[in-house]
Amino acid sequence: MKTKYRGTAIALGDHVDTDTILPGKYLATMDPAILAAHCLEPIRGRLPPLSKNTVIVAGRNFGCGSSREGAPVSILGNGMKIVIAESFARIFYRNAVNIGLLPIECSGIRRAAKNGDMVETDLAALNLTVNGKRSFPLLPPPPHIQRIISAGGLVPLVKKELLAASRVSRSGRAKRNKPQKHNSGQKVGGARP
């Protein structure tokens, strides 16, 4: 599992809400490409372009507001596999973990990182550095979160558990819960188990 991530910072403030991450007018769509195109739209003009080589570095309460899963989907859709903040709003945090976007809490990061700074995250060493100099310790996710991360998201985890349950209860009739071809959960890096 990938444990090292590097990207140039997209520096954001406190309380970045879900309407800023993904405005309500795009809620009816389920197409990840469309969601990705509108990620952070209300403030995008002020930001460097989003890509797989960037990483969002925010302040307190990132993702506050709506339960819209399109918010983390739109970030993931731009190729970013992790998002770093001082703290996350709870539904955003769960949504991100569930779909395979890794939310990383890092105390002190908001003041330390500016737009364009190189942010390197090492989830095995539990350490984050800004421009190769300033270093911040990270905490490992608790076991119940790590389980979801290690499984590659909530879909593969529940699928595995449903399958196991059906095998146990009725070994002859497990067909109903057979794994289907379509697989969603994207593999993400995680902290050490």
Binding site: L27, P42, S87, N98, E105, H144, L154, L157, V158, N177
Partner: protein, 442 residues
Amino acid sequence: MATEASSCARSGCGRFRIAHANLFLSPDNAAATDMPGSTISEKILARASGMAEVKTGDVVTARVGLATAHDACAKVLGPFERMGAARVWDPEKIAISLDHWAPATTGAAASLHAKTRRFVKEQGIRHFYDLGRGGVCHQVVMEEGLARPGLLILGTDSHTTTLGAAGAFAAGIGVTEMAAVFATGRIWLKVPPTVRITLSGKPDKFICAKDYILHIIGKLGRDSAAYKAVEFCGPAVDALGLSQRMTLCNMSAEMGAKAGIVAGKGKGAPASDDDARFESVNDFNIGGLTPQVACPPSLENVQPASTVARKRIPVDQAFIGSCTNGRLEDLQAAESILRGEKIHPRTRLLVSPASQRVYRQALKAGIISSLAESGAAVLGPGCAACFGGHVGILAPREVCVSTGNRNFTGRMGDASSRVYLASPAVAAASALYGEITSPEDI
């Protein structure tokens, strides 16, 4: 700051425990009994997880008492299928009401609705409320008596906290998580600490629960209840009817709360023990409180309406409705200010009853015709203009006084538009004068 991810690690995992080896399909445990020294949330989560007792910080696998969904139900179906699930765990414990795009205004929304209708039929979900029979999901679930004291409720909407007004533990989740709930009937939850808010005093004229909660959020902050439960109590809460309690619990979400709760009425309704541990107890006296306004773009920018009124801010649109303030007494409060008057020519007033039932009651009471006489555009029940994706979209630089729950940048339309949150009385007074106005000043 304590969060789902960190507080366990920071507290040294001493109180951390996983109730069962398997996160979603755990075996049933023995029936729970209420132990002394617990909060309402601890009691409800203990019961739901089949434990004798749970404490703040515990991670439990809980059985869901009720799952609620709105238009987002259609988005639950993808992950539900990919999990390999075929049937929902219990069709009787799912309630769905279409509210965000009611009625559908785009092909994408129509397709979400069509998928939901098909799913509901296939799965035999009886508690489904289509256009003309429902309204905002939280309102409908409450009206139908599906939210009960002590119940664990999860919903696809962040304002599912509204249902805590019935004495339930009700939290919002995303669609993938809801797919797991639909498939297994279970969810992992970390037992939250409780922030207790005690309200005392008698409200002045024009003051309602919206003013209380805006004042509270302004004082305590937008993430003051992040990952926590908020319990509202005290004589001023006891004096409130259900609809005002719903407003309080609804906006606890804007403090970051996992759940907002008012202890339920009647026998068997769980209440916090006298010796329960609260993270904090915050006392507010609402006597002398004046109408409040949350100025854009943050719920923390709360000022007295009369102070904001001095800035003479012209209002393009006033919106009265939503899960926060679309109930009968909200419409009544607005109507009593507008009765016999015409709204200001530069302002358009949108009114949306929270549900079909509210709509019918308001029709019978003559409220709808009176508002229409004043110049209000009355919309059908639903979320309407509140979330900026359906109707009443704001043009660049327009100003709206809204009875909704969020004033974020671009919330109701263009990123340069501005939303001021207030009570129905303030919204009506502002529509009447065409600028932000306190009803005290009429």
